[in-house]
């Protein structure tokens, strides 16, 4: 705004300010405040608009469907609470259903995802082209420009859009300039869509990456791993860093057709032989030769176990499981190699007692690595028969479970919970698909009722209750209310809150279903 009028006959506003600063003792200025008042009102009354600055380009249109009004209110409330546990699911759902973010909530959304990196992928995709437009204007939201819009269903920006904000330009920028976590996410996504492109991208900068970064980038190759990756991984077996070599070896061992897998199978056949009566005679190697070391096996055991047990474990875990079926099949039983129960038959063989546990554990690791459901199933069935529930609840069962199809995972866990209660169930429950199917939610609710009835403290089950909030089907709310009605006050409070959360979740998703 500029001053157009100064009605004071003599002297300017600047003179008045100088007089006032100096003081009328030093510079007499009769009627100073009267003149100043006149000039002030004249200036204020004469204000005109200043020349307009250059306008930024308007936001691109978001072609997605407008969010229903109740969902807009819900989002505003979730963002205002900020720490809401519901926000991740809300964002993923709204994004998945192809809704456009309401523009006035974009600042709160971008602020929330700035503080919580777990929200970024969904938040930025949901914010869409208008979110990118806004983020380009505010340095606080620059992170959003590095998250590509690749999976957004909207069209790319119209011509002339800032290339850094564009979907493809953004991708390269992420790989070249992004933070480490953003680069890993980008590589993983690219692998999911186009494994060869992902490998090429990693190859292009491989030699200049730091060792700890190489390790995690290599890990990202698990996504979409295939035999085309083998030459790259074989080269990585000669990497300067030991961890990188070991990871490359582990990846190669999950490729049953790889040369490394074949070398491991040779070693396995030397260490485990079939006796005449069909038993398995185990004799681990006495040393770790250079070839073994080159294939990722450490020369000395890094754990407390003996070296020979460790080498055996490494060899068997990296050996294609089909090798064992062939081995057992060649012993005369013509049907052994066929059918889904082949692993069970192998497991039924007598094993040199001193090494039996080592061999089973190594098979379990192999089943997880090779995503072999038949072997996982057979190993789990064997564990379930064991007396010691505690042993069955360690790390391995949950990892074996993760190999099984979702519904089977849930029913296995349901049986486990029914037999052993909730105390050891957390690791298993988190592997189960949400919402939990009827058998699993029934088992968990039964176990909760029992825990409430026996007077154990609710907070000792806080882990399970947290998973239950996310995974119980909404219909369970009524049954939980009934449980709360019969429970002591501490449990009643916990159960009421659980039921409330389920209902809130149900309402939230119903709002996103409207059209």
């Amino acid at each position: 705004m500029t001053t157009t009028a100064d009605t004071r006959p003599a002297g300017s506003w600047t003179d008045l300010v100088e007089d006032a600063l100096l003081g009328t003792n030093r510079r007499p200025s009769p009627g100073l405040l009267d003149h100043a008042a006149l000039a002030t009102v004249a200036r204020r009354a004469g204000l005109r608009p200043a020349p307009a600055p250059e306008l930024p380009a308007p936001a691109p249109f978001d072609e997605r469907a407008a969010l229903p009004a109740p969902a807009v209110r819900r989002l505003a409330a979730l963002l205002a609470e900020n720490s809401s546990e519901l926000l991740p699911q809300w964002l993923a759902t709204a994004r998945g259903r192809g809704f456009a973010a309401p523009p006035e909530l974009l600042p709160a959304l971008l602020d929330a995802a700035r503080q919580r990196s777990d929200l970024r992928g969904d938040a930025v995709a949901f914010a869409g082209p208008r979110g990118h437009w806004l983020a380009a204007l505010n340095p606080d939201w620059r992170y959003a420009l590095r998250v590509p819009l690749e999976e957004s269903p909207t069209e790319p920006h119209p011509a002339g859009a800032d290339s850094a904000a564009g979907p493809t330009g953004g991708a390269d920028a992420v790989w070249q300039e992004g933070l480490f976590a953003e680069r890993v996410t980008h590589l993983t996504r690219l692998r999911r869509r186009d494994p060869a492109a992902g490998l090429a991208l990693l190859h292009s900068t491989w030699s200049s990456e730091r060792a700890e970064d190489r390790l995690l980038f290599l890990d990202a190759l698990q996504e979409g791993l295939n035999l085309d990756d083998e030459p790259f991984l074989e080269a990585a077996l000669r990497d300067r860093a030991k961890n990188v070599r070991a990871t490359a070896a582990e990846l190669l061992s999950t490729l049953p057709g790889s040369a490394l897998a074949a070398r491991m199978a040779d070693r396995a056949r030397q260490a485990v032989r079939v006796t005449e009566d069909g038993g398995l005679l185990v004799e681990p190697p006495d040393s770790c030769d250079a070839a073994m070391q080159r294939d990722g096996i450490a020369a000395t055991s890094p754990t407390g176990r003996g070296d020979r047990a460790f080498w055996l474990g490494e060899i068997v875990a990296a050996t294609p499981l089909s090798c064992w079926v062939e081995l057992a099949g060649s012993s005369g039983d013509a049907n052994a190699a066929d059918g889904a129960d082949a692993p069970t038959r192998v497991l039924g063989r007598a094993v040199t007692p001193a090494w039996a546990d080592e061999l089973r554990e190594a098979w379990a690791r192999a089943a997880v690595r090779q995503h072999d459901a038949a072997w996982a199933r057979a190993l789990l069935a064997e564990r379930r028969g064991e007396e010691n529930a505690r042993a069955a609840s360690g790390g391995a069962p949950s990892r074996l479970l993760s190999v099984l199809p979702a519904t089977e995972r849930a029913s296995w866990t349901a049986r486990f919970v029914a037999e052993h209660g909730l105390a050891e169930a957390f690791q298993l429950l988190v592997t189960c698909p949400a919402p939990w199917p009827e058998d699993l939610s029934g088992a968990v609710l039964g176990a909760l009722a029992q825990a409430a009835g026996t007077g154990s403290y609710p907070w000792s089950h806080s882990g399970v209750l947290g998973v239950a909030e996310r995974c119980l089907p909404f219909a369970a709310a009524a049954r939980i209310d009934a449980l709360a009605g019969e429970a002591s006050s501490a449990w009643a409070e916990v159960l009421t809150r659980l039921a409330d959360t389920l209902r809130t979740r149900a309402a939230m998703l119903a709002e996103l279903a409207q059209d």
Partner: protein, 460 residues
């Protein structure tokens, strides 16, 4: 603006508005939990009220009814919060359009009809002549006619106060002259204490308007670049006000009233409503803003008469942490009578009788003008009140723009500095395109309060 935008605007209040009725933040949270259908039964709504029964911890559900014209609340729960979480939860359900029922149940109807009877009795008690009065329903109808002895005592009180304020004004002029003799260059080293002391003297002299302006002088030397200009301006305007009060008898009546009001002689709302005149109109609620200090929460509500085109400002106060009582839904129209305080230009008003609950506006966006016109309205208003800092304005084709020297509000006529608590929200809502904005336009720039998007009004 397609017709669908008009259809989607309705008489229901926004969630923001309902939550603004809550006495505190924890009530807002509790209400949000009840703002879902499950705990409720027998809910319903009419043009006059909403009602429902809410399952609580006890065996009997709480019966809740809200009359929309107050709003006034009734709930059978024992909560001391007012309005309680049940009333707010019910309003949230209503605002989300999830109330289903039709006729009010007996318990709701009996409270509503009792309320109607009381309102009728109250209006029957009032003088029949509209020009002479009518207080808001529920308000004290005002003191009864003063007897001659009271009048004489009041006149003596008034005279004593006039004399005290006059001596206060004289003292203030002397202090301003003192400071000016020594030079304003000294001001930064004096800090707040000097003017805080003068302000306390002005409070003693019963001149709160002079006191607050004097207090503000203490902060200006620390207000950044160009502070000498701002300080001299405010010295000069305060000097003008005190001088104006000394010479009040020679001023034209409207200007004299403005000076008295600026110095701190206020007329309370009941008095304003009694003396009238009352202006009936469909008043569009342009916006609302709360400010608080450690003693008081002040709510400003801006209205515009859709027929008269007059702007009005309602003030409502609350204790710290308590929502001021008066609350009107932004963007809706209120058929009501206002009485303006006797200052020039007329802006501050008291809310008199309401004739209906707030209703959907006749146009999706309020009419308005350009940035240039907003500055022009401010200039015109300065002609009546040179101490005005700003004047309400609707700008219809304005775009918010972040620049290297702060935010600007820009249209075809140019730019003004833009101030608002959340400029990014305004920019996001605009998607970089012109939109309608309401705010206060003055010599510091434009303070935005409300904007209108395709989905209706948005409080900034």
């Amino acid at each position: 603006m397609g017709p669908s935008n008009v259809e989607c605007m309705n008489d229901r209040w926004t969630t923001d508005h309902v939550l603004s009725l809550a006495p505190d933040a924890s009530s807002q949270k509790a209400a949000a939990k009840l703002g879902r259908p499950d705990p409720w039964s027998g809910t319903g709504a009419s043009a006059e009220a909403v009602w429902g029964a809410c399952k609580g911890s006890g065996s009997r559900p709480y019966q809740t009814v809200v009359a929309l014209d107050g709003p006034a609340y009734h709930c059978s729960c024992p909560s001391r919060k007012f309005p309680c979480k049940h009333a707010l939860g019910l309003l949230l359900l209503w605002s989300a359009d999830t109330l289903t029922g039709a006729g009010a149940p007996e318990w709701a109807e009996s409270w509503l009809s009792g309320r109607r009877r009381r309102a009728e009795r109250a209006s029957a008690d009032m003088p029949g002549d509209a020009a002479s009065g009518g207080a808001a329903p529920g308000d004290d109808a005002g003191s009864s006619q003063a007897g001659p002895r009271d009048e004489a005592a009041a006149a003596a009180r008034r005279q004593r106060r006039e004399a005290r304020v006059a001596s206060g004004a004289e003292e203030l002029l002397a202090r301003l002259a003192d400071q000016l003799r020594g030079g304003l260059a000294e001001a930064p080293s004096r800090g707040y204490a000097f003017w805080d002391g003068v302000a306390a003297r002005m409070v003693d002299a019963q001149a709160p308007g002079l006191a607050s302006r004097a207090r503000d002088l203490g902060a200006l030397p620390a207000s950044g670049a160009q502070w000498p200009t701002r300080l001299l301006e405010e010295y000069a305007m305060l000097h003008l006000l005190a001088t104006g009060y000394q010479g009040r008898d020679a001023l034209p009546a409207p200007l004299a009233a403005t000076v008295r009001s600026r110095v701190g002689f206020t007329v309370d709302n009941a008095e304003v409503l009694r003396t009238g005149p009352l202006v009936r109109d469909r008043w569009l609620v342009l916006g609302s803003r709360d400010t608080s200090d450690d003693r008081l929460t002040t709510r400003r509500l801006w209205l515009r008469g859709t027929q008269s085109g007059r702007d009005a400002l309602l003030l409502s106060f609350g204790r710290p942490g308590v929502a001021p009582e008066l609350s009107l839904p932004t963007g809706l129209e209120l058929d009501a009578e206002l009485a303006f305080h006797p200052t020039a230009p007329a802006l501050r008003a008291a809310l008199g009788p309401r004739h209906a609950a707030p209703a959907a506006p006749s146009a999706p966006h309020p009419a308005g003008g350009s940035v240039d016109a907003a500055l022009g309205s401010y200039a015109a208003a300065l002609g009546d009140d040179p101490w005005l800092d700003s004047w309400p304005a609707v700008i219809t084709e304005a775009t918010p723009v972040p620049t290297d020297h702060g935010w600007q509000l820009v249209d075809a006529t140019g730019a003004v500095p833009l101030f608002t608590p959340s400029p990014w929200r305004l920019l996001a809502a605009s998607t970089g395109r012109p939109l309608t904005v309401f705010g206060e336009c003055g010599h510091r720039g434009f303070h935005a309060v409300t904007c209108w998007t395709d989905n209706g009004p948005l409080t900034l």
